[in-house]
């Protein structure tokens, strides 16, 4: 009995080590498990949405008139704000052409439906499952967001389903900068329902409470400029040379239904053809030459 148990243990450890180096079993289980899981959960989610839609559209119509009026007023406000910002937008386009700053158009947005939250005993990370896989635009590493901000990125993918690591997971790291003070840092999660932390922001950065944190694009996963979180508290750290900053996600990660994937298209950024070429860049004089003069 002990010999059999020992042999099984050795076999398991061998299989585990082999899989750690080759990821063969990880890939196989992801392909089969996620694909079958997605195929089972997609109709369930669709039925759930259908029944929920029936209820909200045809039965539960309490206070719809008031909500409609409030929404109309909100749309009017947003239209006014859009008109006011249109001149700034046109100016930004002109300046970009003038400075030949390429527009980052190598990301393509794709819609996806959330199938479920954590499934099964092995779902130890803060993840959700979506109905897009590597064959439909959800390759591992693809960033996800909603109209409010960043959600996370694809962790594992089968052909038509993928599991997404949420930004609140302790293993999630996002390169960000603060929108006003332009201080760079690393945003990391501390678990579901817990505030996020921003690391490596210098003490003199001038970060304020309520400031927006946007992706810097330096991590290679997220495009530059996506809103990720809002600063909740800022104070000097007791243990390091940096600020101790906590932040909250802009998106309600507990109630996600639809998300947007940003798939890399692989296209090079566009450069205006008729724009004048920039004059040769002249940097500061070399220290040695300046001294000789």
């Amino acid at each position: 009995m002990l010999v059999i148990a020992g042999a099984l243990l050795i076999f398991f450890l061998g299989m585990y080590s082999w899989n750690q180096t080759t990821h063969t079993l990880d890939d196989l289980s992801t392909d089969i498990g996620l694909e079958v899981g997605g195929a089972v959960l997609s109709p369930v989610r669709a039925a759930q949405d259908f029944l929920g839609g029936l209820w909200t559209r045809y039965v539960d119509l309490v206070a719809v008139r008031e909500e409609n009026e409030a929404l109309k007023a909100h749309v009017a406000t947003l239209e006014t704000r859009l008109l006011a910002n249109s001149e700034d937008l046109a100016e930004l386009r002109r300046l970009r052409i003038l400075l030949q700053v390429p527009v980052d158009n190598n990301w393509r947005p794709l819609g996806a439906r959330v199938l479920s939250g954590q499934i099964g005993p092995n779902a130890v990370l803060n993840t959700i499952t979506i109905n897009r896989g590597y064959a439909t635009g959800g390759r591992p590493g693809t960033p996800l967001l909603t109209n409010k901000g960043v959600v996370g990125r694809v962790l594992r993918a089968s052909a038509h389903s993928a599991s997404v690591l949420l930004m609140t997971d302790p293993g999630s790291r996002i390169a960000i900068f603060t929108q006003d003070s332009r201080a760079m840092g690393i945003l990391h999660g501390n678990g579901a329902m817990r505030p996020l932390t921003v690391d490596f922001v210098p003490r003199d950065a001038g970060v304020r409470r309520g400031e927006l944190l946007v992706t810097s694009g330096l991590d290679g996963f997220y495009p530059k400029g996506l809103p990720a979180a809002r600063v909740v508290s800022v104070e000097p750290s007791n243990y390091s040379e940096f600020l101790a900053i906590t932040a909250e996600p802009l998106v309600d990660l507990q109630h996600l239904e639809e998300v947007l994937l940003f798939e890399k298209t692989g296209q090079a950024p566009e450069v205006e053809e008729n724009a004048t070429s920039p004059s040769q860049f002249v940097g500061p004089p070399k220290p040695g030459k300046a001294r000789r003069k």
């Binding site: 899989n19 990880d26 498990g33 990370l125 499952t129 599991s163």
Partner: protein, 169 residues
Amino acid sequence: MSGLGNICFWLIFTAAGLVCEMLVPRIDALVCGLIVLLQERNFKTLVWLLPLFVLLQEGLGSRPFGGSVVWYAVIVLFFHIGERFFNSGTFVFVFFLSAACGAASYALNVLMAPLQDLEVNVQQLIDSSLLQAIFLPISWCVVHYLRLCLPASSQPNPVKGENLHKIGV
């Protein structure tokens, strides 16, 4: 009905289990299928269904491959140990087995976490282990009665144990 009915039953059970896992996060809803199959000594079905369970749980989870293999191995071990002391077809047996499974779920997660370089959320782990321990007897009752309702030809005969399909004996 016999062979095909049995396969259909377990495929529907697997799909229903996944829906349960979607509704109740971090529990293994398929494990009661393994216990029922062990009680029925239906090893033919176990041969194809257990690898499917392992692949599904590993694929839907976020840990490197291996946790589910150990988890199901521990349940089989507990089943065989418990079988020596209790009649394996009774609710009392399943109740004790589920308590042991809840404890095993906690212990395995704590043991596997450093091996896979993962942080352990103790509170979350205790909650999911308790949920697992509570969920198992309930789901076992449902599956057990469903199996009793099926035509006898679709169930393989147990090799030993006369009252395997009697609850609460």
